[in-house]
């Protein structure tokens, strides 16, 4: 059994929390005491019926305002798969939270209210899902019960969404008519919408192939830490600890260390101190090399015949996340890419993307919170990267404010 991480995004009142609550409830993942707590809370707020949305509302300030202010994680499972649900708020001012949640998602559920169809926030959420390279997108057209479960209403929304998706790079799209409130087409097929013959939401979640999404070709291994026990019996032991970001590594593979360009061969791969034959994507292992070369945290081990780009000049899409300061050409930050950190300076803003109309805006002087733009930057040390859309793990980077140390930008290197 494997693990699927998915994010749900929707406007305020699209019924996102109800949808998650419904998934948990219909897959029997709500425990008795949690149910009692919800019943209690539903009563105190005069909600009358049990409000499944209360399952995902965590913090007191959220409960008071009836909104979700931060990314929340929920865990559930079916006999076929384990799920991590990432709940990203729909509020305009919290777009940065959706980017945060989307960065680790294998799949996105984008909610559309059947009464309103594709709205500004749908466009925004779809752009973010596409920009962050989420491989699978489900559009859940919710509240179908409020449009009389009409097939025509659904088809019209599906058509306008498909037009929108064509402008984006969404690889795998499924559109499903649902009612989270009544549980239609979430876990159980809907009787009220017998015209719908496609899969239920849960069925898609259980069956998408995540393994295929991973980059199995480009051998990339960012060194996190050097293990040197320096004991008598392990006097010369020098193991490079890290996680395979993409591709596969095997004993005997010819490798290259970046940015130094020194070459060697893999002498041994270990896990938990024991030798293993090979290491695949996302495995945390320790690599030992045949030659004693100088490698430290921040260096990258790559297969010798398949190199990333090594450069100090980088172009990237950035989502700006600082609510206090703006990004302007000339500003300096710390760029964190893999395990490498380098100071960098912003050389220019090529254009900003209007995340609602998808238009490119020229001559932008500064980026504010939640702005998305293509920027050019120069790093103090060379960075070994792949384009994000080709290799998510090695094309992602963050910008850190040098004085406050806050993470202020999400970069997708192009």
């Amino acid at each position: 059994m494997d693990l699927l991480r998915f994010i749900t995004a929707g406007s305020v009142d699209d019924g996102k929390s109800t949808l998650i609550g419904r998934l948990l409830y219909d897959t029997k993942n709500i425990l008795a005491d949690q149910m009692e707590a919800i019943e209690r809370a539903s009563k105190t707020r005069n909600a009358g019926e049990i409000d499944l949305a209360l399952l995902t509302d965590g913090l007191r300030s959220e409960r008071e305002q009836g909104i979700t202010i931060d990314v929340a994680y929920k865990y559930f499972q079916t006999p076929n798969r384990k799920f991590i649900s990432i709940d990203a708020p729909g509020h305009i001012q919290y777009t940065r939270n959706m980017v945060t949640g989307a960065s680790n998602a294998d799949l996105a559920i984008i909610l559309v209210d059947a009464r309103h169809g594709v709205v500004e926030q749908t466009r925004r959420h779809s752009l973010i899902a596409s920009m962050l390279g989420i491989p699978h997108v489900i559009v859940a057209v919710n509240k179908m019960d409020l449009v009389g479960n009409s097939e025509d209403a659904f088809l019209e929304i599906a058509k306008s969404y498909t037009e929108l998706a064509e402008k984006l790079s969404i690889k795998d799209l499924t559109i499903i008519p649902v009612s989270a409130l009544n549980g239609d087409n979430i876990v159980e097929r809907s009787e009220a919408m017998s015209w719908y013959t496609g899969e239920t939401l849960l069925s898609v979640l259980e069956n998408v192939n995540v393994l295929k999404d991973q980059n199995q070709e480009d051998g990339r291994f960012a060194v996190q830490y050097v293990i040197r026990p320096q004991t008598d019996e392990l006097h010369d032991y020098r193991g490079y600890a890290g996680r395979v970001q993409s591709g596969t590594f095997k004993k005997g593979d010819a490798i290259k260390v970046l940015p130094s360009e020194r070459e060697s061969k893999i002498a041994k791969i270990e896990f938990g101190g024991n030798e293993i034959p090979q290491a695949s994507v996302l495995e945390s292992v320790t690599i030992l090399l045949e030659d004693d070369i100088d490698i430290s945290r921040g260096d990258m081990i790559v297969t010798v015949d398949n190199s990333p780009i090594v450069s100090q000049d980088i172009e990237a899409l950035v989502c700006w996340m600082d609510d206090k300061k703006t990004l302007k050409p000339g500003n300096k930050y710390v760029l964190q890419h893999g395990t490498a950190r380098s100071r960098c300076s912003i050389r220019g803003i090529e254009y900003q993307i209007d995340i609602n109309s998808y238009e490119k805006l020229d001559e932008v002087e500064a980026l504010k919170l939640n702005d998305v733009a293509r920027i050019v930057l120069r790093t103090a040390q060379p960075i070994a990267y792949d384009p994000y859309q080709k290799n998510r793990a090695n094309g992602a980077a963050i910008l850190i404010d040098e004085t406050s140390n806050v993470t202020v930008g999400a970069c997708m290197i192009e």
Partner: protein, 317 residues
């Protein structure tokens, strides 16, 4: 070494036929990655160790992350003086077995040194006071990162906390000013005096921890398994019969066969009636259990709807 065309396509075939990875392997790889980020990013990290199953899991993961080397940080325990003796014994034995540095600081000492006022009466606990000792210990050793065994499935405030959770110089968590946490790029940059709490098993559920303990053959303190014990029956919950719990006229003293599902302070951890004597039996019971872990065993969370949120804002881990 060059790969011939045939060999390359063999590799492709092998990859496409590879079965989906097991979720425990995925969670383990993520936790090891996080541990190594701590070792790589911080000068003076520590692992908060209580002798409970979650921190036992952490120690095991740390061993794997840095093998064949030693764990490159000390184990730190804030001892409330209200711990189960079995957990304390386990703690000392484990630290010795893996040759780790163990630092123990006592809430009792903080109470005396600072003249802190303890809670009194029914359900009094040192849960809140241990924050003072923890912050003092962090200051004493200048720890810049503390690894903890909290999980997001435990409690709703924890469901919103980052894996690298930034704390100001007072140890406080501010849920509205958390750093965005993108991809697996953890930002551990801090100023002197600030620190980061790191939760490598954030994405594990209770059942994942049990399944992992079983798969890895990790020993646990005996109180996790069914045994006979004298207990205080109070408000439907079974508490260990110990002098550190202030008696209440309504208390009944009973003897039952129980196990502990979580191991915190004796004052706020309830036992569950059970005959499960092995890991398999415990897992079977938890799988069919209809009550959440903290709901069943924690008295400290049930005082208000936002009990954990408030404690964390005050520097609790």
């Amino acid at each position: 070494m060059s790969i011939s065309v045939n060999e390359a396509s063999d590799i492709q075939r092998e990859i496409s036929e590879r079965s989906a990875p097991d979720y425990l392997d995925q969670l383990e790889a993520e936790a090891i990655y996080i541990m190594r980020e701590v070792a790589g990013q911080f000068e003076r990290p520590a692992l908060l160790f209580s002798g409970g199953k979650d921190s036992i899991t952490l120690v095991h993961l740390a061993k794997k992350a840095f093998a064949p080397g030693k764990i490159p940080f000390p184990l730190v325990h804030v001892d409330t003086g209200h711990n189960f003796i079995e957990a304390i014994e386990y703690r000392d034995e484990l630290a010795e077995a893996i040759n780790a540095k163990l630092i123990v600081r006592y809430v009792e000492d903080t109470i005396k040194a600072k003249g802190l006022k303890e809670q009194t009466g029914k359900n009094a606990s040192r849960n809140w006071l241990q924050t003072f000792t923890l912050l003092d210990t962090i200051e004493e050793f200048e720890f810049d990162a503390c690894i903890g065994g909290a999980r997001r499935d435990e409690e709703k405030a924890r469901a919103k906390e980052r894996i690298f959770s930034f704390r100001d110089e007072f140890g406080q968590w501010d849920p509205k000013r958390q750093r965005p946490e993108l991809w697996n790029l953890f930002n551990g940059r801090i100023q002197k005096g600030e620190n980061v709490r790191v939760f490598p098993i954030s994405n594990w559920t209770e059942l994942d921890v049990w399944a992992y303990l079983k798969r890895e053959g990790i020993a646990l303190p005996s109180i996790y398994f069914a045994h006979e014990r004298e207990l205080i029956l109070r408000d439907g919950k079974l508490l260990n019969n110990t002098p550190v719990i202030e008696p209440d006229p309504e208390d009944q003293i009973v003897t039952r066969q129980v196990r502990f599902r979580t191991v915190g302070d004796m004052t706020c951890t309830a036992a569950v009636e059970s005959a499960a004597a092995t890991l398999d039996e415990v897992i079977a019971e938890i799988t069919i259990s209809r009550i959440s872990e903290r709901g069943e065993t924690r008295i400290d969370d049930q005082q208000t709807e936002a009990a954990m949120e408030d404690r964390k804002k005050g520097g609790y881990f």
